[in-house]
């Protein structure tokens, strides 16, 4: 059975993604094929331990799961990119889609626009990075994009 990993630390966004999979029965993806990770660390652990066909990835992540009262450790503005880099180094065959609600990334020192980041990810990790989708809680365009990708992928 193929598996999908969703790496997301925003509760609201995570609920939306989960609902998408629940509602899109046409995708024929059983819900138990979907794994979740809330942080950079837990995503890497899961990626190393399992074979995922697809990973839907957030860009800005905390280092550790935030449900730990000690907090999520350091915030990684490019946590998603770090995961991509590691996956690339580990020669994983997972296909990654970045799902982000922001139009620009990073902070002082390294700020990238949407297009710059997409280009960088394609250039560096083109083997595993497939696309970046804009998430908006008030729009359903992102759902259409994700479904289209998954349909193509699992065709």
């Amino acid at each position: 059975m193929f598996k999908i990993l969703i790496v997301e630390d925003d509760e609201n966004k995570l609920n939306d993604i989960h609902s998408l999979f629940q509602s899109e029965v046409n995708l024929k993806i059983p819900l138990d094929a979907i794994d979740f990770a809330r942080s950079y660390n837990s995503a890497l652990v899961k990626l190393k331990e399992n074979e995922y066909r697809v990973c839907i990835l957030d860009m800005s992540l905390f280092t550790y799961d935030n449900n730990d009262p000690r907090g999520g450790g350091k915030r990684r503005p490019f946590g998603g990119r770090e995961i991509l880099r590691k996956a690339n180094r580990l020669k994983l065959n997972t296909s990654f889609i970045v799902l982000s609600q922001f139009e620009s990334f990073g902070e002082e020192g390294e700020e990238l626009s949407w297009d710059e980041l997409v280009k960088q990810l394609h250039d560096r990790y083109g083997r595993i990075f497939k696309d970046m989708v804009f998430y908006s809680a008030s729009s359903s365009d992102w759902k259409r994009d994700i479904i289209r990708f998954l349909k193509e992928f699992f065709r």
């Binding site: 609201n12 390294e110 908006s136």
Partner: protein, 1135 residues
């Protein structure tokens, strides 16, 4: 001379005479210079015509220019000269220079004598040179700049600034002189480094001026060439720039002409401008003496002959000794040293020959030390580098400055760059020091016959001629083998034959015993990079720098890092340690970059993988082949929590701290010399771990009662009823299936046991929920009072999105409105006002209607309640039967109440996690949707902030919901006061993201520990004290300095918390306020406002002393020496 040539000459003379007459006539008619008539003339033709037309007197009389003898007020005010075109302008300037030749010669003699006196630290002589120059020749920019330098050196910063102030306030001084003075003053200040001057001040000023369009490009060029280090100009600005320079003195014009000519020579060789200047120099230089700047310039332009001077000869002899490897004979005669110290050659030679000569006085000495360190790359290298740059800055655009910059460029390996050539040539012009090296980048200089003979006998000179490096040449026989190899390698290097160069550099290194080693290593490193041998290069650099980090600036680390980043390789253990260290050097000394931080972390991981371990502390270091210094560096600088968190083998921040402690223990073993140093860090980290753990404990449950207090309160309240129940022996224990029977029994009015149980339940419940030690009081202090509100608003505050309200009026002072126009601001503020109001409403709802204990029979405003219906009475009655005494009965009741409260807490958690969370999401989504739908707000960063704030707020709601658990009663270890203070400090920071740091300085004479049961209360008191200092000092949080001192007096802990106050504090008002609070505490005493959340700040602390610590205590607060002081005497349990 042939007839034809003679005729031509006569013809040209006639032409010039005609042109000169034409110019004279035009000038006499006051029509300015007739550009249209001579635009096709060559600069030399115009020069000749003008030279005939203008005399100094005529020139000054007609143009009313006073190029000499100016006062500071006249400087910059020669406005009447009409510009023509750039090249022709240079002709005019050359005529002016020629006209003022005697004055310029005098000026040069003052210039040289100032320079020599300065370097010998003879400030009086410097001053005298400046004064004489002023008296005789008048003011110039050069003089003004050096006046600042001398005053700074002799009278200090204050006097120097006074001069600046005087100039600034003088209405008659030209504005450009004022602007220049600001920078003249700045560059001589001891605290202003080269980088700071150029990056923080000059560049920023110029950028701001450009943005505001305040200055024309020619004016910017004027400043860049005068107070900057610019070696470039745009041709279109040149004329206007020279036009500005003509407003000043002839001496400034002279220096500007030389600078422009030198830039042209190095940057634009072969250009039309280059040819024009060459033409002009060929006619004007013959009037100037051999030692003049202009003549030296003409040598470089190859229109005059170079003649060797005695000092040049002395230098050449020493250089030859050095080239031939006779290092003990390289010292130059004393006369050279005293007259030509500014050449710096003797210091350089001494250092390169690995000798050390007796110390010379003052500035010479300091420069000498720095050069020595720069060349030998010792442990003071970076300091020396900075101090040389500072000296160069102080003397910016003078011979000494160019000399220093030339040396630094060579030591940085920047040969053959335009900058280096510029510095080398400029130092020749302004100091007269002729190093045969100049020939290597300017090899067709015309040398007179006699000098050429001397040069031909010089090994150094011949070394610069490529053919001399052939093995069988005479020159090669005289020069040590390693130097021949080095120069051969350099030749290959320059031709990009890196493989050949690499082997020659390696051979040379094997033989070299001098300080040349570092330049060889640097070039070898570049060869490695060019050949793609990145690991070899990394190994080379790290091995050299590990013992002396000062060497880092010597190597091409940025270039190597760039190549390593592109390749993104996986490394073996031995490679990874080098790569990790190299990336760390880069981040520490060059630039910070997320990408390189990732690279460093991945190299750390590669090292672990290569060592087949999960954690650095697990590695068997005895088996490692790595050299100890590298290992120590790696463990100390790379194995830090911030870097180690890349590894999946750590799953919490705590595990990182624990690993760091283990790493430090390993370090103590392998590097015992620094054991104490590591031990100190272990101590700090252990303390951090304890603090974190305490904060985590609090996070997991904040709902509590003061159990011993509640037990005592219940015991008192139910004492009579309980004794009566005990005396009634007919109490029956009912099973659950007998409940109906019991209810019937209960309904009988004469059943005393039942009515007593009901009484007990009611009274105990009151004590548990609402008593002074009860749950609601603690809920008020720990959660309701500010804490919950803070956590629910902190994300909005952090991203500067929280609108404050003064009554109904919104206050946008805390909102980030950067880069928004007024229309965008209006829309954005309106949306945020709505958002903030809704968040406020939700918070208020939580505080008033949810997070409260309540008696349901009286009110429904609260989620925590305990029923006391029939079934509850029977359960309590049953429970009480197992109690052996009153205290146990109270404890049983408390446990029972907790079982009743737990579901209430669960409903609060649900309320937060579901209802509140959904409401918040709805509010945010509608705000974001609204803002995103407006095209005029497209791309504003504030929408991103809103999304981030929403994510964070969702997490914070979840975090807050966890507080609504019963606080675990753990055995708290006995503690030091510092622990409570630190927990408080960090807790405040956790809840208020705007506080970067809270400065608390602690001093104490006591080391007694306090019982763990007092930790919570003491922490709360510190939280109140520090929050009070931050909120009421009138200062920004970072400016607040808190001094905490404490001591033990018998069983009392005496605390004194002092904090500074803003300078505009109204002390009278503050004193009145303090008196009012004192009065309030006195009046309300024990019951002070605790039930109504009115007790804030100090009154709240007072409550904690009275009610939570339940010991006697005192509180006092007052103003002392302009500071607020809070004194507390707390009855704590010492152990």
């Amino acid at each position: 001379m042939s007839q034809k040539r003679k005729k031509n000459q006569q013809k040209r003379k006639k032409q010039y005479d005609g042109k000169a007459t034409l110019i004279k006539n035009k000038l006499a008619q006051n029509q300015g210079l007739p550009y249209n008539l001579f635009k096709k003339w060559t600069p030399a033709e115009l020069y000749s015509a003008l030279e005939k037309s203008l005399t100094k007197e005529y020139f000054e009389g007609f143009f009313q220019c006073s190029y000499t003898g100016q006062s500071i007020r006249k400087l910059g005010k020669n406005r009447s000269f009409i510009p023509i075109s750039d090249s022709h302008d240079l002709s005019l300037i050359c005529v002016i220079l020629k006209l003022y030749l005697p004055e310029l010669e005098r000026f040069e003699s003052y210039y040289s004598s100032f320079q020599t006196s300065y370097i010998h630290g003879e400030h009086e002589k410097c001053l005298s040179a400046l004064n004489l120059c002023n008296d005789e020749l008048g003011y110039s920019k050069w003089l003004l700049s050096n006046e600042f330098l001398v005053i700074q050196n002799t009278k200090g910063l204050e006097k120097q600034k006074l001069l600046l102030k005087d100039l600034k306030s003088d209405q008659l001084v030209d504005f450009r002189v004022k602007s220049l003075s600001f920078f003249y003053s700045l560059k001589v200040e001891n605290e202003i480094s080269w980088d700071r001057y150029f990056n923080n001040y000059l560049r920023e000023s110029i950028e701001v001026s450009k943005k505001r369009n305040q200055l024309s490009s020619s004016t910017i060029l004027f400043y860049e060439l005068n107070i900057g280090n610019s070696k470039s100009f745009l041709k279109k600005d040149l004329q206007a720039y020279l036009d500005q320079e003509r407003d000043f003195s002839v001496y400034d014009l002279y220096l500007a002409f030389i600078k422009i000519s030198l830039i042209t020579l190095t940057k634009f060789p072969g250009s039309k401008l280059h040819k024009d200047i060459k033409q002009l120099l060929s006619v004007v230089s013959k009037h100037f003496s051999y030692n003049s700047f202009l003549y030296r310039l003409s040598i470089l332009y190859k229109v005059s002959f170079y003649t060797m001077t005695e000092t040049d000869e002395a230098l050449l002899k020493s250089l030859d000794q050095y080239t031939e490897g006779n290092y003990k004979k390289t010292s130059i005669e004393n006369t050279y040293l005293s007259n030509c110290a500014v050449h710096l050659e003797s210091f350089e030679l001494t250092a390169r020959s690995m000798r050390w000569e007796k110390e010379s006085p003052s500035i010479v000495n300091s420069i000498n030390h720095s050069i020595n360190s720069l060349i030998r790359k010792d442990k003071k290298l970076l300091n020396s580098y900075d101090s040389l740059l500072k000296e160069s800055l102080k003397n910016l655009n003078t011979g000494l400055s160019y000399k220093i910059l030339s040396l630094i460029s060579r030591e940085s390996g920047e040969y053959n760059t335009n900058d280096f050539i510029y510095y080398d040539l400029a130092s020749f012009i302004f100091t007269g020091s002729f190093n045969p090296r100049i020939l290597s980048h300017h090899n067709s200089i015309r040398i007179d016959k006699c000098s050429l003979t001397k040069f031909r006998n010089s090994t150094t000179y011949n070394l610069f001629l490529e053919h001399s490096l052939k093995d069988n040449s005479d020159v090669a026989q005289n020069i040590p083998k390693y130097r021949i190899l080095k120069y051969k390698a350099l030749n290959f290097f320059r031709c990009s034959k890196f493989k050949e160069a690499k082997y020659l550099f390696l051979d040379s290194l094997n033989l070299s015993r001098t300080v040349d080693r570092y330049s060889l290593l640097k070039n070898l490193a570049i060869c490695h990079i060019k050949l793609g041998e990145l690991n070899e290069c990394t190994q080379l650099i790290v091995s050299e720098c590990i013992d002396n980090e000062e060497l880092i600036s010597t190597f091409p680390i940025p270039l190597l890092v760039k190549h390593l980043s592109i390749s993104d390789l996986q490394y073996s253990e031995a490679e990874a340690i080098n790569v990790a260290i190299l990336f760390d050097y880069y981040l520490k000394y060059f630039s910070s970059s997320k990408d390189i931080e990732e690279n460093r972390a991945f190299a750390f991981e590669d090292f672990l993988e290569g060592s087949d371990t999960k954690r650095p502390s697990q590695i068997d270091y005895k088996k490692l082949q790595t050299e100890k210094p590298k290992l120590v560096y790696f463990l100390y600088n790379i194995c830090t929590p911030d870097i180690m968190d890349v590894s999946v083998h750590f799953d919490t921040p705590e595990s990182l701290l624990e690993e760091r402690i283990k790493v430090l223990s390993v370090l103590s073993t392998i590097n015992p010399n620094k054991e104490q140093f590591y031990r100190n860090e272990i101590q700090e980290l252990t303390f951090d771990l304890i603090v974190d753990k305490k904060i985590v404990d609090t996070e997991l449950g904040q709902v509590r009662i003061n159990k011993s207090g509640v037990v005592s309160d219940i015991s008192k309240a139910i004492s009579d009823d309980y004794r009566r129940i005990i005396s009634l022996k007919s109490v029956k224990h009912y099973q659950d299936d007998e409940l109906i029977q019991y209810v019937l029994e209960l309904m009988q009015p004469d059943n005393e046991t039942n009515s007593l149980t009901k009484e007990i339940l009611q009274k105990a419940k009151d004590s548990f929920l609402f008593g002074i030690n009860g749950l609601d009081v603690n809920l008020s202090v720990d959660i309701r009072h500010g804490t919950l509100e803070n956590i629910l608003k902190r994300s909005l505050k952090e991203y500067k999105l929280m609108v404050l309200f003064n009554g109904e009026i919104p206050d946008f002072s805390e909102i980030d409105l950067d880069y928004l126009d007024s229309h965008q601001k209006t829309i954005f503020c309106k949306a945020l006002t709505k958002l903030s109001s809704k968040v406020n409403l939700l918070v208020r709802y939580l505080l008033r209607k949810v997070v409260r204990a309540v008696d349901k029979s009286v009110s429904s405003n609260g989620y925590i309640y305990i029923n006391s219906g029939s079934l509850d009475i029977i359960r309590v009655r049953n429970l009480l039967q197992s109690a052996e005494d009153l205290d146990k009965a109270s404890n049983i009741l408390i446990d029972y109440f907790w079982t009743k409260v737990e579901p209430c807490l669960e409903s609060i958690r649900d309320k937060l996690n579901i209802d509140i969370s959904n409401s918040i999401s709805t509010v945010f989504h509608s705000t974001i949707k609204d803002l995103e739908s407006r095209p005029e707000l497209t791309g504003i960063k504030q929408i991103n902030s809103l999304k981030l704030a929403h994510t964070k707020l969702s997490d914070d709601i979840k975090r807050a919901s966890r507080w609504f658990n019963k606080a675990s009663i753990k055995e708290v270890d006995d503690f030091d006061v510092k622990l409570a203070s630190e927990i408080a400090r960090r807790t405040i920071q956790n809840y208020d993201p705007t506080l970067n740091s809270i400065n608390v300085k602690t001093s104490s004479s006591t080391k007694n520990k306090i019982a763990g049961s007092d930790l919570k209360s003491l922490t709360s008191i510190f939280e109140i004290a520090y929050t009070n200092a931050i909120q009421h000092s009138g200062l920004s949080p970072n400016e607040v300095c808190i001094d905490l001192s404490y001591k033990r007096e018998e069983q009392f802990l005496k605390l004194k918390v002092r904090n500074n106050l803003a300078s505009n504090t109204n002390y009278n008002e503050l004193k009145i306020k303090i008196e009012k609070i004192k009065q309030k505490i006195g009046e309300e005493g024990n019951t002070l406002s605790i039930r109504s959340e009115k007790g804030s700040g100090i009154p709240k602390a007072f409550n904690i002393i009275k009610n939570q610590l339940r010991k006697s205590g005192e509180i006092n607060f007052y103003i002392d020496k302009g500071e607020f002081v809070l004194e507390l005497s707390l009855g704590v349990t010492y152990v």
